[in-house]
């Protein structure tokens, strides 16, 4: 039940972020917001002891793009990082029960 709910929320989030991709040129403020959202999701993953190395790498790439002034790219990468972080959160949550499927008994 709980899984299903978070699942739905995740799908919704992905849809929303997907929709915003189409927008015109991004500003530094857009990047900051997207980056903060990604960082927040990654922090949640850390709380669940399940961060992905790819999230960190994508966050770093976003920062680099922003530093070079390419905010379109920076926003896209931040959203990708957020999606990765959310996937890792989802993984950790669902594994709380699913790990038992693999157990030798």
């Amino acid at each position: 039940m709980k899984n299903l709910t978070s699942n739905m929320m995740l799908i919704a989030t992905l849809l929303i972020s997907g929709a915003t991709f189409a927008r015109a040129a991004s500003s530094e403020a857009d990047f900051k917001a997207a980056y903060a959202a990604a960082e927040a999701a990654n922090k949640e993953a850390a709380g669940l002891r399940n961060q992905w190395t790819t999230t960190a790498a994508t966050l770093a790439a976003a920062k680099k793009s922003a530093d070079s002034g390419d905010f379109d790219q920076a926003v896209t990468q931040s959203r990708e990082a957020e999606a990765l972080a959310k996937a890792s959160v989802f993984q950790a949550t669902s594994e709380k029960e699913r790990w038992k499927d693999l157990e030798i008994r």
């Binding site: 899984n3 699942n7 995740l10 799908i11 992905l14 999606a83 990765l84 959310k86 996937a87 989802f90 993984q91 669902s94 699913r98």
Partner: protein, 164 residues
């Protein structure tokens, strides 16, 4: 396998599971022999031979002539190296009057890996461990009675993963 059963509908794109796993496992096999090379004698560090890129050039720099393949040269090397950093390779021969033995890895940046001087009274048999950058022929050269004989074997080298 349906995505529902998998339980990861929305995140499937991000999870390189399933097909990825299949692709990671399994690997082709089997080597095949390949061409030998060329051939003289050495009593100093063969500086020049170690600088050559190709196996043929290295053998020529080392001996000044070419080698002929011989089933009297027994080269022992793995089919698949457990790791390219440490590949155990050895050679033994039934040939008489052996004066030197050399190992080459054709695909390394410089083909010559090691050369051994065998004085009278020392057995014509050497084991060592070599680095291999990638899948390559390993060539053993035995110099006996002033002539060169060789054996060649392909050793597969692959990169590391979640093994061990």
């Amino acid at each position: 396998m349906s995505t529902t059963a998998n339980g990861f509908p929305a995140t499937r794109r991000l999870l390189l599971q399933g097909a990825g796993l299949v692709a990671l496992f399994g690997l082709g096999q089997m080597p095949f022999g390949a061409a030998p090379a060329h051939a003289a004698a050495n009593d100093k560090y063969p500086e020049d031979a170690f600088k050559q890129k190709s196996d043929a050039d290295a053998i020529h720099a080392l001996y000044g002539k070419g080698a002929e393949a011989s089933d009297k040269v027994k080269l022992d090397a793995p089919e698949i190296a457990e790791n390219g950093a440490v590949v155990p390779v050895s050679v033994a021969t039934t040939l008489d009057n052996v004066t030197s033995i050399a190992f080459l890895v054709s695909e390394n940046p410089n083909a010559l890996a090691a050369s051994y001087r065998i004085p009278p009274g020392t057995m014509p048999s050497v084991a060592n461990r070599l680095k291999m950058q990638k899948t390559s022929n390993v060539i053993a050269i035995v110099e006996a009675g002033g002539k060169l004989y060789s054996a060649t074997k392909e050793v597969k080298v692959t990169v590391g993963g979640c093994g061990g």
